[in-house]
């Protein structure tokens, strides 16, 4: 996959990006490690969280069924979408039904995964990303390069030039001034929008609510002001109970940004009730499969569905630190992307992603739910070495495999080994 190598090379020779990535890891990577230590239960809470997540994933059918019942009881509508096309179709249908003209979006990886924006725009709907980083990336017609810091690859000077051009403000490069210019521009979008689209950090089966986290307040805006709210979640993002939420939200905030709790956490359990003057009047929850059930079916990879997309693994990964997010060439980058992307989009197609990681184990140590990413990277490599019919994986190189087979055959017998050694001496004297 040449793009991986090309993009990686580009990133490595970009000194500004290198400095930004180093700074990011220094701040967020170390911040998360320190934040785990201040947990009242200690950093071992991550092991408990891993168990909670695995138990949820192992009973996903029961949880999703309960979730759907609760959401509908609270007055929301639940849509099960088996793939990107179904999810995008449902979203367009909802927009059409309510005569939507302008959408404000909260940051959501899953909407990137299904390519939602382009379809809505094609329907003549104005779609505005409202997380500041996402907004910058959207204005520049680029893609996010980090799960929680999407515009980490852009400098203040670039953003100053971009805002001068797109927002018609005088050029400046001071972060507060630029942030407040976006605050003003986006406020108009929030006030005019008739639909808010958000992701979902974690749903709760027993209550039927979804928890959505932000620091900027854009998610609160998008769920409070427009009359329609559509939330889209990967089907694995559900926990059983509020007790589980307590553990997972504290770990998510720590893993993502070293915070004890994200600045804003909205627990949305349905549309507004009689007598309320804000909040959506129509609330839809779209639950997406899009290849996840295939991962669920394979015991080797089921564990990756525990991921709560905090980005902690990006903030410690020595490979991500050098090549940045764009080289991964997909919505999900970093160590988690190196596992998820091949499984969602094709192992052969995205083979460089799992081959490029170092297996150093930093991601496992940083993960708030202690997912063994290196183990799964090895599984993927083994699939590439041997081929795997269940995932339609072709063997990476027959020649390489044959070489290793001969080597292993020779190593298993002293006479064969010595014969081989003599032969090699003859060939390479």
């Amino acid at each position: 996959m040449q793009p991986y190598i090309d993009e990686a090379r580009k990133a490595i020779s970009n000194f500004v990006l290198q400095a930004a990535l180093a700074n990011l890891q220094d701040r967020l990577g170390k911040g998360a490690a320190a934040a785990y230590l201040n947990l009242p239960e200690g950093p071992e809470l991550r092991l408990k969280a891993h168990d909670l997540r695995m138990q949820a994933i192992n009973n996903l059918d029961v949880l999703l069924e309960t979730l759907a019942v609760q959401v509908e009881k609270n007055g929301g509508r639940v849509i099960f979408a088996e793939d990107a096309k179904a999810a995008v179709g449902a979203c367009r249908e909802i927009a059409r039904k309510h005569g939507v003209r302008a959408v404000v979006k909260g940051k959501s990886m899953v909407t990137e995964e299904i390519g939602l924006n382009a379809s809505l725009i094609a329907d003549g709907i104005e779609v505005t990303e409202t997380d500041l980083g996402e907004y910058i990336v959207q204005l520049a017609a680029e893609h996010p390069s980090h799960i929680i810091a999407p515009a980490i690859h852009k400098t203040r000077n670039e953003i100053g030039t971009l805002f001068a051009e797109k927002l018609g403000i005088p050029y400046g490069n001071d972060p507060p001034t630029l942030t407040w210019a976006a605050r003003k521009a986006l406020r108009e979008k929030f006030l005019a929008a008739d639909m808010g689209i958000t992701g979902c950090n974690l749903a709760c089966a027993e209550t039927g609510h979804i928890a959505i986290l932000s620091n900027e307040g854009n998610i609160r805006m998008a769920t409070t002001l427009p009359s329609v709210h559509v939330a889209i979640m990967g089907m694995e993002r559900v926990a059983a109970t509020l007790e589980d939420h307590d553990v997972l939200l504290r770990l998510l905030s720590r893993g993502a940004a070293g915070q004890k709790m994200a600045g804003y956490v909205s627990h949305i359990s349905g549309p507004r009730r009689p007598g309320h003057s804000d909040g959506s009047e129509n609330y839809y929850l779209i639950i997406l499969d899009n290849g996840r059930s295939r991962i669920l079916a394979d015991e080797r990879f089921r564990e990756i569905l525990c991921c709560i997309r905090c980005g902690a693994c990006l903030n410690v990964c020595p490979v991500y630190a050098k090549i940045g997010g764009h080289a991964y060439g997909s919505t999900y980058c970093g160590p988690v992307g190196a596992v998820v992307t091949p499984l969602l989009t094709g192992v052969n197609r995205s083979r460089d992603l799992c081959l490029g990681e170092t297996l150093c184990g930093a991601c496992r140590e940083a993960c708030p739910v202690h997912i063994d990413i290196p183990r799964m990277l090895l599984e993927l490599r083994s699939m590439l070495a041997d081929g795997d019919a269940s995932w339609q994986v072709r063997r990476n190189s027959l020649l390489e495999k044959a070489g290793w087979m001969i080597w292993s055959w020779m190593m298993q017998d002293r006479r064969r080994y010595e014969l081989g050694a003599r032969l090699m001496k003859r060939i390479f004297p």
Binding site: E82, T179, W180, R220, E243, H267, S293
Partner: protein, 253 residues
């Protein structure tokens, strides 16, 4: 629910069951699988109920300490009158952002009502708007909220360990009051203090009002003013929501 919708759901769930190697629910029931926390929660509820004034003072100290790095100001005040005085001074000293004139929006809430803000601010010529109880003109209140300098709310709980306010949504207590104005002021009494998110969820799930109300359609945790670090990792307050936040804790002493 239309029939197509039901069939989508059952196909979707069947696929998951196949993936799990569980052709049917196999007697796995949500409440058997996941309802073990009642005993721990009742311990928590007892702890909350039996908390002494001294304990609450410690929680308040912790709140002040945790709020500090978040740029969340926590101000203990003896009485409601002192709180009203502090809010009046704040309204006088801060410059409006979304309008030329200063104005406030506030929740309809017994504690907020007891501050008599309208009366207190009349001499300064600053109006205080509250949501209309019968929602005669909801658009008008939204307009008030989006041009207001300060939004005044109370809160259901205040979590010390993470300096988080917990706000449920009820008639007369819209979410926009803590969101659209430039400054969010929350006024609580000291007995709203709890220690942890765990305690908050125990109250929401098992507490005295849980049956009646639960989470409400939106329960929000707020831990400080709106912020972003998306431009070169420089922390800036006031990304979309309030750029400043103050909690007044009435100690009653």
């Amino acid at each position: 629910m239309n029939p197509e919708h039901i069939s989508n759901q059952s196909t979707f769930l069947r696929k998951i069951r196949t993936a799990l190697g569980q052709p049917a629910a196999n007697g796995r029931n949500f409440y058997d699988l996941f309802s073990g926390a009642r005993i721990e929660s009742s311990v928590l509820l007892n702890r909350i109920k039996s908390r002494s004034a001294v304990d609450r003072k410690l929680l308040l100290d912790r709140l002040i300490h945790e709020g500090n790095p978040l740029n969340l100001k926590v101000v203990p005040v003896p009485t409601a009158a002192d709180t009203a005085q502090a809010i009046a001074e704040l309204a006088r000293d801060r410059s409006p952002e979304w309008s030329d004139a200063r104005s406030l929006v506030a929740w309809r809430h017994p504690l907020i009502d007891s501050l008599n803000l309208s009366e207190r601010l009349k001499s300064q010529g600053i109006p205080v708007y509250m949501p209309d109880p019968d929602l005669a003109d909801p658009g008008l209140f939204r307009l008030r909220a989006q041009t207001a300098l300060i939004g005044v709310t109370s809160a259901d709980y205040c979590i010390a360990e993470s300096a988080s306010l917990v706000l449920k949504t009820r008639p007369g207590q819209p979410r926009m009051v803590s969101l659209l104005p430039s400054i969010h002021v929350a006024v609580i009494t000291e007995d709203r203090m709890i220690e942890s998110l765990k305690e908050c969820y125990a109250l929401v799930k098992w507490g005295p009002d849980a049956e009646k109300e639960g989470l409400t359609c939106c329960m929000t945790l707020i831990s400080g003013p709106s912020k972003t670090a998306d431009i070169e990792a420089v922390m800036v307050h006031g990304a979309h929501g309030p750029r400043e936040m103050i909690i007044y804790v009435i100690s009653g002493a």
